[in-house]
Amino acid sequence: MNKSFRQSMAWLHTWTGLLLGWLLVAIFITGTSAYFREEITLWMQPEVHDSTLQPGTVELAMAALNAKAPDAKSWDINLPGDRQTAVELRWQPAKQPENGGRRRGEQMLMDADSGEVVAPRATRGGNFFYRFHFELYGIDRLWARLLVCLATMFMLIAIISGVITHKKIFKDFFTFRPGKGQRSWLDAHNATAVLALPYHFMITYSGLLLFMTLIMPWGIDAAYENDRRAFFSEVFSRGEDAAQPGSPGQMVAVGPLIEQTETRFGKPVERIQITNPNRDNAQITLRVNRDPAVTDRQRGGDPTQVFQGNTGELIDTRIPANDPVSPGWRIYNFFTSVHMARFADPLTRWLFFLFGIAGSAMTVTGMLLWVSKRTQQLRRDQQPDRALKMVNGLNMASITGLMLAIAAYFLANRLLPATLAAREDREIQVFFIIWLVSLVHGLLRPNRHGWIEQVAAASLLWLAIPVVNIFTTASHLFTPLAWQHAAIASFDLVCLTLAALGGYTLWRLQRKPLPAKARRARAPRRANTASEQPAGESP
């Protein structure tokens, strides 16, 4: 490989990286949290923590739906599993409200033990980060998605040019020179990039594939003569709509049907759907979780049995995973399922979470390296120019600032009154106010002091979460309930881990002595780049 080619790639890597780096840090960090979005939502609704699946839960759920919406078009019952404790009840009202309404129908949560409807505190939970990950917040959804796609494309280019820049990529990988400023950042950037390189490529490329109909629809138009609906119905068919409701009729008990399905598939039934409930043409659909296979089709892949509602007669047994999938779609399914960890059991989910942290660390160290390199190139008494200070301040806001804002969001969830009006919006306002404060602070103090202050604040807030939890919930770390559902205790443990990482960072930052006061008085302060911050500072 000739030298100038690598130089041009280094140039391309540096500038594509910086240009959308801040956005990418936010996308990576919120995306990493999204592997646990259901667990985060669960943690943020402590009212539903004390709920466990019982033998009679299904009957209670049927009774609750019967009381709430006896003439609905359909009912859906999602039973508690690894990632949720309460029973989720959904129904499609008989009459759709004029001009749209919610397409997904109505929803409520039920306690699995008592059958009482629970109204937990209003929160967007983990979905806020999940949505932010690909459509940001508060700006037009279409433009936000396009912006995220653009950042993703830049990321793909940065990955490829980054690989080309490092001729000796594996030798670089085994090099680590700690405590040496720019060198250390370079090594950390290389290590996190190479360590998870297949992951980085996968997550970026699949990110583009997930938005293919938005950003690359031309092949669909070409092959389907501009009829995109035809493509969607061919590929992502959701099955036919339910038949018109018949005349009122009795339904058989669901319990024996569940036993039948569980015997057939050897797994617990997780989801129950009833179309045209309380009619003579009611149909009862029982689903168990599929065996995870990453190349499966996405929707409707679960083993299913369908029963006639008034007789209990078995109509259909489907195991969609056995249907043939063509090679092209297998590749597509592979990339998109892996992106969303659709197939993942809890252990795999943790592994993806760690990969996500590696990705966040890669973008973060890249941004820090950019500033560190330029700071070290300054002459002894030269002041960093305005642009360098600004990049340093923006780095601070995008890294420690985001971590502060996320912690504040969780604290707001515990501290705001449970019945506050527009509560879920207030939580989000807290998030953005704290982020904004950190941005202003970062721009005012784009130096080591600024970094020290923000890292200290972030560590305190993350430490505060499990502590506040003790005083505000009955499912904190010192209760058996939190450990009964591993997700709840794990959340607090992750908070403690992040606080500890922050504390370690602080110790490293403090240990490097500041320039003597006398010297500072003579020469203006140099922008410093928190050059001792370890890479793992992200959720």
Binding site: M9, M153, I160, M212, G219, S326, G328
Partner: protein, 88 residues
């Protein structure tokens, strides 16, 4: 690299690269000898790789002119392939 060269290469990477990808998606969608939904998805998957490949090329070519030529030539080929593959 001069500012003019950088601007030109950036345009080649962004517009040219996207155009190349889009044309590849279209050409493969109508010419691949597999079911059309498969042809579409394979085309899209190839398109994104071509987009990033084109960006790499745009900044590594010896001159901005060569950068453009290296993107436009295959684009024309793919456009021809697409027109040839259209149902009569």
């Amino acid at each position: 690299m001069t500012p003019l060269s950088i601007t030109s290469r950036t345009l080649a990477a962004a517009l040219g690269g996207y155009g190349l990808g889009a044309l590849a998606a279209m050409a493969l969608a109508v010419t691949l000898p597999v079911a059309r939904d498969q042809a579409v998805i394979i085309g899209i998957m190839v398109a994104f790789l071509l987009c990033s490949g084109a960006a790499i090329w745009a900044f590594s070519a010896r001159s901005a002119w060569r950068a453009w030529a290296g993107i436009l030539a295959p684009s024309l080929l793919l456009a021809g392939l697409y027109l040839w593959g259209l149902p009569a």
